[in-house]
């Protein structure tokens, strides 16, 4: 029995005793059941499996610590009202915010952070990681790390633009439909139905094959595909607000539709719309990554996570994890945004924790 295994069990048992002594029921149950599971794991997988568990726990603890510190940091720097809201954020949401913050920094300062240019060939194809190239080289010998950093700018920036456009189109149409009602509402609703009835990926492929794969085309096509969802949500939310007495009072005053939308409805609809924005951003991001993977998105040599997965896909059969790094970057961002959105949805829905 190696020293590691002895230390591992000693730490677990010690921690569970401490938890039990301080009457932390949840923590105790967690640690002690981990101890019991580890007995079985140790017998089957040996010290290697236990090392894996220890690493995972360490990573988790590190993430939790980072999130906690980051949340405290945000509370410290924000205004009192905002700080009060932030204090209610769970650790997962803080983690999400931290990841988004990191990505934003990487994207904005990409040319200064990345050691090489995104199209610069500096080594052999599929070079293994070394001091020069932190994550190795891709299929043309470009630095993988630099391309990931630039990818944050290109992929995320593009997705952000497309989502914003989708929101502007969908939200305006939805709000007007709710206020005007009648034929305008019907017309908008049917257009949305038509767009939604076409499978999104096929529609995007079709449009991109017809109009070419320029950046503007991608943004517009993706925005058109996703605006009906925004439209439907906005119309539903606004529909509940339009029947309120204060909107009736404004209507009777003789206010125009645009005033109603801007002053009476929009301020009351922002919370669900922001939550939806986060959610839609994930879908848009995945769609664009999917398009890039199929070769119809952002064109080489521009770095983009979706196409990086495809270009390096062959490596996976050699047991190399390089193609998984951009995929992991996509997954991490999606999960992070969902954490934040969950928290926001929880707040707007007014649910109370039991």
């Amino acid at each position: 029995m190696s020293i590691f295994v002895i230390v591992y069990y000693a730490a677990l048992i010690g921690a569970s005793c401490l938890a039990a002594f301080y009457k932390q029921r949840g923590v105790f149950m967690l640690i002690f059941s981990l101890t019991l599971v580890s007995f079985v794991l140790g017998i089957i997988g040996g010290a290697g499996a236990l090392r894996l568990v220890a690493t995972a726990a360490g990573v988790l603890a590190l993430a939790a610590g980072t999130s906690y510190a980051f949340r405290e940091f945000l509370i410290q720097i924000s205004r009192p009202n905002l700080a009060k809201e932030l204090r209610t954020a769970p650790l997962t949401a803080a983690f999400g915010m931290f990841v988004i913050f990191t990505y934003a920094i990487a994207g904005i300062f990409a040319p200064w952070i990345a050691p090489y240019g995104e199209a610069e060939v500096i080594g052999q194809a599929f070079a293994p990681p070394d001091q020069n190239m932190l994550l190795g080289g891709d299929q043309l010998g470009r630095d993988m790390f630099s391309r990931i950093i630039f990818g944050a700018r290109n992929s995320v920036g593009l997705a952000l633009m497309a989502t914003l456009l989708a929101f502007v189109m969908g939200a305006i149409a939805g709000l007007l439909a709710a206020v005007k009602g009648g034929w305008f509402d019907q017309l908008m609703g049917r257009i949305a139905d038509v767009i939604m009835s076409i499978p999104s990926l096929i529609f995007a492929l079709l449009m991109l094959s017809i109009f070419g794969t320029g950046l503007q085309v991608i943004v517009i096509v993706v925005a058109v595909i996703y605006s009906p969802r925004v439209f439907r949500l906005t119309r539903a939310v606004a529909g509940n607000i339009v029947v309120m007495d204060y909107v009736e009072a404004s209507k009777l005053r003789g206010e125009g539709d645009w005033y109603l939308v801007r002053k009476e409805i929009l301020p009351n609809a922002t919370a669900p719309l922001i939550a939806e924005f986060g959610l839609e951003f994930c879908f848009v991001f995945l769609l664009i990554a999917g398009l890039s993977f199929l070769g119809l998105g952002i064109q080489p040599p521009t770095a983009d996570w979706g196409s990086m997965v495809r270009e390096n896909a062959t490596l996976i059969s050699f047991g190399d994890i390089t193609p998984l790094i951009p995929a992991g970057a996509i997954a991490l961002l999606t999960v992070a945004i969902n954490f934040v959105v969950d928290w926001m949805l929880f707040r707007t829905s007014g649910l109370k924790e039991q």
Binding site: D245, Y246, R253, G254, P267, N268, K352
Partner: protein, 553 residues
């Protein structure tokens, strides 16, 4: 203590109860040390304004603290069992079987997807007190005692298939299903019309008497509690003001606060009469028929006039077409036939076709101040917008006008100028609603049940304010209400509506003198009075079997 119950066994004893609520990250006291003793068979009335902690005490009597509240101190002893220290499962065993609860809104408290009788039988079957068939048989008997129509079949309907008053009685029957020792009635008739309220009150009183059940009756309506309770306890902001047997409490209240509660119904505005010089009425509703899309006629040949500077009260139970008439006048619902004249000139039926000046003439104040004010807009803008929109005021002129309006409604401009509606109390919100209507400088205001969602003291303040504004600004009001006490205090003329028709109309002093139309008579005699014997007298006059049923179609 009431002599009648002095020698009876004590059922519930609450000592020095303190309850705290969690808000803004600290625990704030809600109930600040209340004592309560309830004997077997005694009915205790709890009254006070909203926020006085009536419902919280009612829930605490079951050993229950709502989400976000906790019982911090004191003892609650139910029949020898201490509820504050009892385990959750022990307390759960009491609820439904020995302590029952009747909620304010029966419609929201019944599960819409189960039949009434199944919900009725749930508790007895669960506690193994009765078999299902036995419980159903018992339910039918209770329904009969509560004078529900068709007692053997009504239980097999779903909640949406019976009317509000019947549902409230079915809920009382359900509370009785296990023959509990204590029932807590939390404002059971507040949401009902006066004509329906009387039958529910009679039913509750009879059944509580018959099974000798103790009850805590929570309400803010003094006249109602006078009918129901043996003892009355008055609460204010989580503290007890005083407690006394009903008759003594009504005849001889000790505390200032109680006296002010009792005095509420005394406000009376002097009656005004129509001008005799033959001038045109301000608003004239002429032979209006109206229906919602595809539905049956909601209004049938409605006609009445409103003269400048006068208050016309439109009364009737819910569904009688009062609010629909208001919608026709404002132009939200174009009438099918008939017309609405403003100073002798016909108004376009749809509000979109009216000119800005026509829209300005008629303003509206709503029942629910919560939904009538946009929660995300500052007070200054809510009030300022009409002034800006109609009067074209800007900058410092606008600010001055808003300050003026806030002064007019007796709110301090400095304090309220830049606040948001959710930060205000119900009465303050209603005042802002009034200010918004005034900002348009109208001659005519429609008040749609403006006081019915407010406590009596606050409502009194609003009525006085409206009356003062009427004198100062020469406003005409159309006052929609189902509360005849309000009519009595503020109206000059009364229009009684039933099933979309005007049943009777005339000046107030004539309307409150007999002879009446039968429906007016029913409405008038259904308004609870402070006399504890009132309900008994009315029931005797009407005969036990047809109380309130006269109002049914």
């Amino acid at each position: 203590m009431h002599d009648k119950f002095k020698d009876k066994e004590i059922l519930l004893e609450i000592r020095d109860l303190k309850i705290e609520g969690y808000s803004d990250e600290t625990w704030v006291p809600i109930i600040k040390g209340v004592d309560l003793t309830l004997h077997r068979g005694e009915v205790l009335g709890l009254i006070g304004e909203s926020g006085a902690g009536k419902s919280t005490i009612g829930a605490a009597a079951m050993g229950y603290a709502r989400d976000g509240t906790r019982i911090s101190e004191g003892s609650i002893e139910f029949d020898g069992m201490e509820l504050t220290t009892a385990s959750e499962s022990e307390r759960r065993m009491l609820r439904g079987s020995r302590i029952a609860y009747v909620a304010q809104s029966a419609a929201a408290s019944f599960n819409p997807s189960h039949k009434l009788i199944d919900q009725h039988a749930e508790a007895p079957v669960h506690y193994r007190i009765k078999k299902r068939m036995e419980a159903q048989e018992d339910a039918m008997q209770l329904y009969e005692q509560l004078r529900l129509p068709n007692p053997r079949e009504i239980g097999f309907r779903y909640p949406h298939q019976v009317s509000g008053g019947q549902l409230q009685r079915a809920m009382t029957a359900m509370a009785m299903s296990c023959r509990p020792d204590l029932i807590i009635f939390d404002e059971p008739t507040t949401a009902l019309d006066v004509t329906t309220q009387i039958e529910v009150l009679a039913a509750i009183r009879d059944i509580v008497d018959e099974f000798n059940t103790a009850a805590i009756y929570i309400t803010h309506d003094l006249a109602v509690v006078a009918q129901m309770a043996d003892t009355i306890k008055v609460l204010l902001k989580g503290e007890e003001v005083e407690q006394a047997p009903t008759q003594q409490m009504i005849d001889n209240p000790q505390e200032e606060y109680t006296k002010s509660l009792w005095a509420v119904r005394s406000f009376n505005s002097p009656q005004r009469y129509r001008p005799t010089d033959g001038s045109d009425p301000l608003i004239s509703v002429q032979n209006v028929d109206a229906a919602y899309t595809g539905g049956i006629k909601v209004l049938d040949d409605v006609s009445f006039d409103i003269y400048p500077g006068m208050t016309v009260a439109v009364v009737g139970e819910s569904g009688s077409g009062k609010s629909t008439t208001a919608r026709c006048i404002t132009g939200l619902l174009p009438p099918m036939s008939g017309q609405i004249l403003c100073k002798g000139e016909p108004l376009p039926p749809r509000y979109k076709d009216r000119t800005r000046d026509q829209l300005r003439q008629a303003q509206m104040i709503y029942q629910m101040a919560d939904t009538a004010l946009n929660p995300k807009v500052r007070i200054s803008e809510i009030i300022g917008r009409p002034a800006q929109f109609y009067g074209g005021l800007h900058g410092s002129d606008l600010k001055q006008r808003v300050d003026e309006l806030l002064d007019l409604i007796e709110l301090d401009p400095v304090q309220f100028y830049s606040r948001y509606p959710p930060e205000l109390s119900g009465g303050q919100k209603q005042r802002i609603g009034i200010a918004r209507a005034l900002a348009a400088e109208p001659e005519f205001i429609i008040c749609d049940e403006v006081t019915s969602a407010l406590d009596q003291l606050v409502a009194e303040g609003i009525l006085k304010l409206l009356d003062r504004l009427q004198d100062e600004l020469g406003l005409a009001y159309m006052f929609i209400t189902h509360d005849l006490a309000t009519v009595r205090s503020i109206a000059d003329e009364v229009v009684v509506m039933q099933h979309g028709k005007v049943v009777e109309q005339g000046p107030k002093d004539e309307m409150f003198k007999p002879p009446h139309h039968p429906y007016t008579d029913l409405l008038l005699s259904s308004v609870p009075e402070m006399d504890p014997e009132w309900l008994t007298t009315v029931l005797e006059e009407r005969g036990v079997d047809n109380i309130g049923e006269a109002a049914d179609r």
